[in-house]
Amino acid sequence: MRILVVDDEPLARARILRLVDTMADAEVVAEAANGREAIEQVEHFEPDVVLMDIRMPGIDGLEATRHLNSLEKPPAVIFVTAYGDYALEAFDAHALGYLLKPVQREKLEDALGRARQVTQAQLSALNNETSFGAARTHISAKHRGGMMLVPVREILYFQADQKYVTVKHSEGEVLIEDSLKSLEDEFGEMFIRIHRKTLVARRHIASLARGNSGQFHVVLKNHEDQPEISRRHVTEVKQATSKL
């Protein structure tokens, strides 16, 4: 069994490494110090199991798991956490696969034996139970056979097409399969709807401009795109931008 250990604390990783070392059919193939590194390492090493700390800087363990689940062959994930922030007690430890720090050797062995992929239902339930909001800090998209992570802060706007949503960000664009409505619900105040097909990041709005045909457009900071505002949304967008 090939294992990836993810924890922002070097000593916590060292302990897991030492525990796994004593087990016959398990080996640690890589380590990661945060969610972003974890995703990179999973793509690179394709481990069977990820031992995932939940609270980490940047992309936390829950969000990383969510991104991992969009891979073609997602690894099994076992959460490792200290008591305090996560209402993991609400879950059956066998069904979800979680360990409490300090991790005991027997418990670890047991969990590894039962390791399986975290289901979508478990993830959303976890997101509801935990104090961290459900909003991701990054959007993951398939990109040249691998996974690309786009920080939500750098997203300029989402535009819906027939089947996909185009995510326009400061360094290009990617396609995702989420619906515009679910993105709107997830990110709430960060984005504003300007069109049936378009959500724009409030932080990237510079001003509004009026085109020749009388249509309004959003002028973005540091980007030439000018997404169109539909008649229905003009008043609301004007109000919102006057507060900027």
């Binding site: 604390e9 060292a14 945060n34 972003r36 609270r55 200290a82 008591y83 720090k101 300090p102």
Partner: protein, 354 residues
């Protein structure tokens, strides 16, 4: 320790000054005028059926109530602080006797001005005295209930502070135990050190929140905490201490600095992949001491973390206020990329505190 004992005792029983409301407060004067008007109305209404001129009787009753009440309250302002060492019953008895004396004197003056016959027609001596005695009793009863209510408020506040201070974040405890579990193998000496530091932190969190400690102790507590956190955060946290200019014997409430440093770690370093610099500085200006804790603001700020922050800083602010009154303050500031908390408190040593 002796400082601590006297303060806790003070908090347990109302002292004589607290037995009376703070008469210098504007709300109290308004309440007094209202009370006087009600009393005058009750007196004149009671005698209205057989009184030749009820309106006149109301005005004279009001004049008497305001005059007597006003004199009583002004004299209580002077007398109350001197009743500090008396028992509650004695203090109230003295206040009541004072009211009777003032009523008697006022009636005397009234008779002298209006002439004995007319004066006693408007305000007969025996019934006025009985009325004053009854209303005075009511007022004292109200003072007593008010004092107890205020005391309960304060007790509630202390209990809340205590509960907060005693709380070592469980997250921190279990993570520390995890760190120690690894250190016992990897670096037994460091493990020993970490266990000692954890014990020290836990002991401090069990102390009475009103307990004051020398600054040097408080600094060591914060350092114990950071010693443990340094293992967890590694190169993500670099710390700089510049507190040598502070007098080591200055007294301050226990666990003033440590929670600030803990906040800095929790909000500034834990969510931050790249980490940064933690600075703790201190200096004195005359008998004022300043301490400043600065930490980086992570790019992604979690709203729920912000909330916890406010609770902890509010708790420290309250305890500083209880210890030093207006001489202490705490300011929080968001600079460009940094969050800064500045504490100001007076230089008080253990001896002068008693």
């Amino acid at each position: 320790m002796p400082t601590n004992r006297t303060e806790t005792q003070l908090a347990k029983k109302p002292t004589a000054t607290e037995l009376f409301p703070d008469f210098s407060h504007r709300r109290v004067s308004i309440a007094f005028v209202f009370f006087a008007a009600c009393a005058a109305f009750a007196i004149s209404a009671a005698s209205a059926p057989w009184h030749p001129d009820p309106v006149q009787s109301f005005w004279s009753a009001l004049a008497l109530c305001v005059a007597v009440g006003g004199l009583w309250i002004s004299s209580l302002r002077v007398v109350a602080p001197r009743l500090k060492k008396q028992k509650i019953a004695t203090a109230y008895l003295i206040a009541w006797a004072l009211l009777m004396a003032i009523t008697g004197l006022s009636l005397g003056v009234c008779y002298a001005v209006l002439g004995t016959e007319k004066g006693s027609h408007y305000m007969p001596l025996p019934s006025t005295l009985i009325m004053a005695a009854a209303l005075g009793g009511l007022a004292l009863r109200y003072f007593y209930i008010h004092a107890n209510w205020q005391l309960n408020q304060e007790r509630g506040q202390i209990a809340r502070s205590q509960a907060l201070a005693a709380r070592i974040r469980p997250h921190f405890l279990f993570n520390t135990l995890n760190t120690i579990a690894e250190l016992t193998r990897a670096d037994p000496e460091a493990a020993e050190h970490a266990v000692e530091d954890l014990a020290r932190l836990y002991r401090m969190s069990l102390a009475d929140v009103q307990h004051k400690v020398p600054l040097a102790d408080e600094i060591n507590t914060a350092k114990s905490y950071l010693y443990i956190e340094q293992y967890r955060l590694g190169s993500r946290m670099r710390q700089t201490w510049d507190t040598d200019r502070l007098p080591a014997d200055a007294q301050l409430p226990i666990l003033t600095l440590q929670p600030l440093v803990e906040n800095a770690i929790y909000h500034g370093f834990e969510p931050c992949p790249d980490g940064g610099h933690l600075r703790i500085e201190g200096w004195s200006e005359g008998d004022r001491l300043y301490m400043v804790v600065t930490n980086p603001i992570p790019e992604i700020e979690r709203s729920n973390r912000q909330k916890g922050n406010n609770m902890a800083t509010e708790n420290i602010r309250q305890r500083l206020q209880m210890a030093f009154g207006k001489q202490a303050s705490m300011q929080t500031e968001k600079l460009d990329q940094q969050y800064q908390v500045t504490l100001r408190f007076p230089y008080v040593t253990g001896d002068t505190q008693g």
